[in-house]
Amino acid sequence: MNIPTNYVVALSAVLFSLGVIGVLIRRNAIIAFMSVELMLNAANLAFIAYARALQQLSGHIFVFFIIAVAAAEVAVGLALIVTIFKTKHSIDVDLVSSLKG
């Protein structure tokens, strides 16, 4: 593929921003979580792009790890959401506001 690296990274940036917006906008905890996955994904893309550009395999390794960690994180995160659901009977993020000052 003969395209400038920056284009791919720019795409990664856009996806990342979209993920951020998603975390901020959506009240549904699961959808917010999915936006976080989107952000991770964008980061992976950037890694791969630079690995290709610099002929380094460490980028790939890093993505490998990121995916693994994302998996672990999702497992635990979703378990948490389920637990919260048991108490609040809703997955509205705005209901978790006990730290209100």
Partner: protein
Amino acid sequence: MHFSEAAVNGWFALVPWIIAFPVAGLLVNLALGRRLGERFTGFVASAAVALAFVVAVLQGLALLQHPEGARVVVADWIAIGGLSVPWAIKVDTLSVTMMLMVTGVSALIHVYATGYMHDDVRFQGDPGRYTRFFIFFNLFVAAMMILISGDSFLTLFVGWEGVGLCSYLLIGFWYEKGKDGIGNAVAGKKAFVANRIGDFGFLIAMFLTFWAFDSLTFDTVFEHAEAAGPQAGLVLTLITLFLLLGAAGKSAQLPLFVWLPDAMAGPTPVSALIHAATMVTAGVYMITRTHVLFHLAPASSSVVAIVGAATAFFAATIAVGQYDIKKVLAYSTISQLGFMVAAVGMGAYVAGMFHLVTHAFFKALLFLGSGSVILGIEHGHHHATQGHGDAHGGHFDPQDMRNMGGMASRMKVTFVVYLIGALALAGIPPLAGFFSKDEILLAAQGQNLLVYLLLTAAAFLTAFYMGRQVFLVFFGRPRSQAAAHAKENPPVVVLPLVALAGLSLLGGALNLPGVHTLGTWLGHTLGEEHAPEFSLLVAGVSTVLALAAIALAWRIYARRPLGENQPDPIEAPLGRLFRALNNKWWVDEFYDWLILRRYVRLANVLAHQVDTIFWHNWFHDSVLAAGFRRGTRWLAESFDLPVIDGASAALARLVERLGSGLRRMQSGYVRNYAVYVLAGVVLMLSFFLIRSLS
């Protein structure tokens, strides 16, 4: 007699002790007197003065060897710029004459007072005050010594003030007694105020002297004055006139004599010592001391002579109309002081000093004698009423001559010595008074006819009122119970009287015409004086007049002795004149109307209107206090409250608002926190971007 040089110099050097002995006496009495009792106090006080007399005698002996005298510097006092006044004692014939007279008479009077005050404090009811009397008495002698031994105007003035103070203290000795309970204190105050007016004159004279002649030491001033020449004439006249004012205050001349009769409120020894023999002569002494200045200002000298003569006559007239035994003697003193002042005014300084000394003898004798009489009357009164107060229910005055009479038989020694004193005062030869008065009349006759006539008339009246007094007191029958029971006093009271009587008898020998012992003696200090020749005419006239006056008095008062409650025989023929004489020509009332009332009114206005209403009520309260209050209220309300309190409150409010504003960040919503994070990231990125761009 010849003494060794060393001895003479040693004696001169001893002269500070003439002041130190009385001071030591008063300090010892101050410390121990009350504890060690009356006899101790009296002894110490009298011994102190007697020792001072011994020192004076030594000075006299030393002067025989060295008539020009000596100057003994005791200590440095003032040395400022051109003014240098050390504490120095001038030992010359003039000052030693005074020293001898003052210490001698004082010693006798101290002894007398030990006995007199013993009775008096019991009569007045406060035995504890005995010691205080002798402390003041010694203080007085010390001050008098400072006065007559001073070698500069300033040291003389220190003594001048000192004797004035002691006079005040001793006149008001029984301060809670007298008319309305403060009469004695008022008399003391009057003496002090009248003296003050004289002191004012003396001070002005001192200032003028320093201004004109750059010094206050007598010798230096006299040198400069003589060298100054005619252009100093005006200032010299002014100086001498102000000195006259000072002398008029201290020596009770017109117009400042009014304090002396009131001063009789003090105990009799005080009257005898201070107001007859010593303090009142200070003015005469002062004029004699400054005779150089008076010589150079003949106009003032005339004024002095007139003042003296007028006083002599004026006071003599008043003495004729007095009933109080001591008041007669008081006015007599004023009159005799007039004689002395007239003498020095005419330049007859020796005559003046001679009369001063003899007058001291017989006037002290007369006062002490009157004291003896009064004591006797008081004892008689006490005896007659057996201590139950006045039998008639009214106030009994032991000094009123109308309550006396027939004392000759009851108080024999007192009578004899009193008679001697009276004859001496009247000027009967060969007693002392005749010689001294005669010299004055001689000088007057030669110089100033008016003065001569006034003095002669005064001499006539003197003899008359003394005769009146003697006949009223000692002759006839007792006019009251008290007089009937009076008896003679103990020797300690009587013996000094005898001594003084002796001096009155023999005192003339001091300056007999032709021999002029005193004249020569004083001539060493005062310069050669050409005393007029003894004139038989003048002497004869004065003697005849005196005898005639006594005879007149005998005719009025002794031939048909006065009975009880009978009015004075001359009251009727003299009528209103007698009332004027009795009321001392209403001089005090005149002064009261002229000066005192206006002054008191002014003082009231100042005190009430100015001080209380204006200063205190208006200015202090309304202006100062209210202004201060208003100022502080303004500060508190307009400044402190809004500005300072406001600032701190605003600060607190700001913090509170800031806090509550910032608190809204803590919404509790995770999404909100995430927004903050994103905002921070955007900011940082833009910051880096802008940085890398520029």
